[in-house]
């Protein structure tokens, strides 16, 4: 039996991916740019084993077996990596006809809408690549893209661009690294996970309907995104947080504007999400410059970009504006520890309050994380499979 075990990180989009020009090949209508998050706080972990004795391909996600054959995206990733292995033409350690067993696990809540499929498919493709001895290059990103579009961006650390490409077969719709995590190492993130009861539209069907019905999405894709991508790349290159924050927040707003312009409309942010937006604008106003930027994906959770040195003050202000009964518990504040600092509301006895104070317990928990590296392979002792079967849950 041959095995490989790897972890792959989550990535959070700055310039947003929304809308495909080809559903099958997962080809986007515009470029997107993301930051990869540290795999210590949030990652997918996958083990793939190949053995002559396996009767069929099998897959377990978080301990539960998934139908393999029925999952076209899974099959496409396996086929894709095997094709690359053949193309690389070297001597294979074992025949490609051997069946595989796959176990995958997320170390963060799958249901919270935190890009679990991007990390998951990146991890799957990366682990298959290690197993079949395929190098990490742009070819591999085209395979991950066909599992879940934004998975291609999780194959690299730091800041990553997914280039739209123009060819019909998708061969030039690839992810490239813009700069490694070490370029801007103090870039951190606070993820405010929102208590939410809303019925959801999945992002796949949401963006499909957007392309079909939004009267604004093509203008966004052809006119707005190219300009913003260019500006964001300069902001990242110069470590210009002010420009970075402005573009990031406008991009988040426009993603949700396009979702609302869809018919029927898709609504991913809720009242709490909008309170987070208000809070960020209030906070930056008080700070006198942009110290924090929000972005929201296809869910209600707020992802706040903030430099390391501003994290303690920002977190204290969040605790003030979003009071929570569990505030002091380790279950509420996850990830990198933050030293406590004092923050007062208002600038003195006669001033109006600075932060709007929200209802209690509108946040479920907070994750503190930072910029991180791409996927990496672990030792066999970290395997999620024993004798080809998943570890007990």
């Amino acid at each position: 039996m041959f095995t490989a075990t790897c972890v792959a990180p989550v990535n959070m989009a700055l310039v947003k991916y929304w809308g495909k020009r080809n559903e099958e090949l997962i080809l986007p209508i515009n470029d997107s740019i993301s930051m990869t998050l540290d795999a210590n706080e949030m990652c997918a972990k996958t083990t793939v084993a190949a053995s002559e004795s396996f009767k069929e391909n099998r897959m377990w996600l978080n301990g539960d077996e998934q139908p393999f054959q029925a999952n076209a995206r899974l099959q496409r990733c396996l086929d894709g990596v095997q094709r690359l292995a053949l193309a690389h033409g070297g001597a294979h350690r074992f025949p490609l006809s051997w069946k595989v067993h796959i176990a995958s696990h997320n170390n963060f809540p799958t249901a919270a809408g935190l890009a679990s499929s991007a990390a998951g498919y990146a991890c799957l493709v990366y682990t298959l690549a290690r197993l079949y001895d395929v190098p990490l290059d742009e070819q591999l990103t085209t395979i991950a893209r066909q599992g879940s579009g934004s998975a291609c961006r999780s194959l690299y650390g730091g800041f990553v661009q997914w280039q739209r490409g123009s060819s019909a077969d998708g061969s030039d719709s690839i992810a490239v690294q813009l700069s490694p995590a070490t370029h801007w190492p103090n870039m951190h993130m606070l993820i405010l996970v929102v208590n939410d009861a809303r019925k959801k539209t999945g992002s796949t069907s949401g963006m499909q309907r957007a392309v079909e019905t939004s009267a604004l999405i093509q203008h966004r894709a052809t006119q707005v995104v190219p300009q913003r991508s260019k500006e964001l790349k300069v902001a990242i290159e110069k470590r210009d947080f002010n420009a970075f924050a402005t573009i990031t927040m406008k991009e988040s707003n426009q993603l949700h504007a396009i979702a609302l312009d869809t018919f029927p409309p898709c609504v991913y942010m809720n009242d709490v999400s909008h309170s987070i937006v208000n809070f960020v604008h209030e906070y930056n106003e008080e700070a006198g410059s942009l110290h924090v930027a929000y972005t929201f994906d296809a869910g209600p959770n707020g992802c706040l970009y903030v430099l390391d040195e501003h994290v303690p003050h920002l977190l204290a202000a969040i605790q003030l504006a979003f009071p929570n009964d569990a505030q002091q518990s380790v279950e509420y504040l996850k990830g990198i520890p933050v030293p406590a600092v004092a923050v007062k509301n208002g600038f003195g006895e006669n001033s109006a309050s600075v932060y709007h104070i929200n209802a209690r317990n509108t946040l479920k928990y907070i994750i503190h994380t930072k910029i991180g590296e791409g996927p990496c392979q672990l030792g066999d002792e970290k395997s999620l499979l024993i004798d080809g079967l998943p570890l007990p849950k």
Copy 2:
């Protein structure tokens, strides 16, 4: 002393007005189309008196005196109608130099964000026109427009178009009637007034910021609205409710998309508003065709267009989906009475429920109204002024 007393209706936009090309003259960046609502349920009422003995121009709104000089829009309306009176050149009943006293009153909650300024300025300008004997024509709509943009549409009943115009002085930015209320007399509306605690951005500053910062608003104004205006006019002409409903809902969604694409974003709809949107799509799905269309202005309240014959069933479904402790009270259901009908949720024991049932008391009250006529003059016995001073509150 000479006096005139008039009422003017509210109008609800179908193709939305959002964004000015000239703030001073209130010239819009796109055409808009509205339906005028029956003044019996919601109207502004205004009395203007002119007397040789008045020392200065004075104004009372809902019984409270307002600063007159400081109010540039008020002054502009008075000057504008007086200029028209001069231009019409007839013998005036009294000298234009006489000062005026104005009392105005809304018969519906001013704070609920229900287009009170449109009805108010339309009523002011119409009443001044009656006092100075100026005819209701397109010239008068250019005056009302300078009080509050959408006020120009409240000068006519039925369906009304505010034409953007192209001249720099605004002389061709006028309202015209598309068809009178009698053309589609069974067009009714249920207004779902939402319990709301959100901090608001006024529509004036919201649309100003949208023009300055939205990357999508010009595309909307130049490409989307002209096409939709054309299609909506055909739908109204043919009394095609299906096309009418589709355009109306898409327009509402796009207004709020543009507001969200503003920086910082403007958010007028809340979670309850979005639940109303969901409900309408569920309702139409169950009905098998479009029986109801939502529109939301710069506030959280849902305005539902529905034909007379569908009102009882729709209202019963609303009562089911939005349970309210005050459901049976006359304070909760205002306006035109509705016969009770029974509505069941779900299609039988094995079916999933049709309507998502919302939390209790998310609606404040419901107004049932319908299409209506333009402003009209009342007898002197309806005056809001006695000897030039307002009636006691």
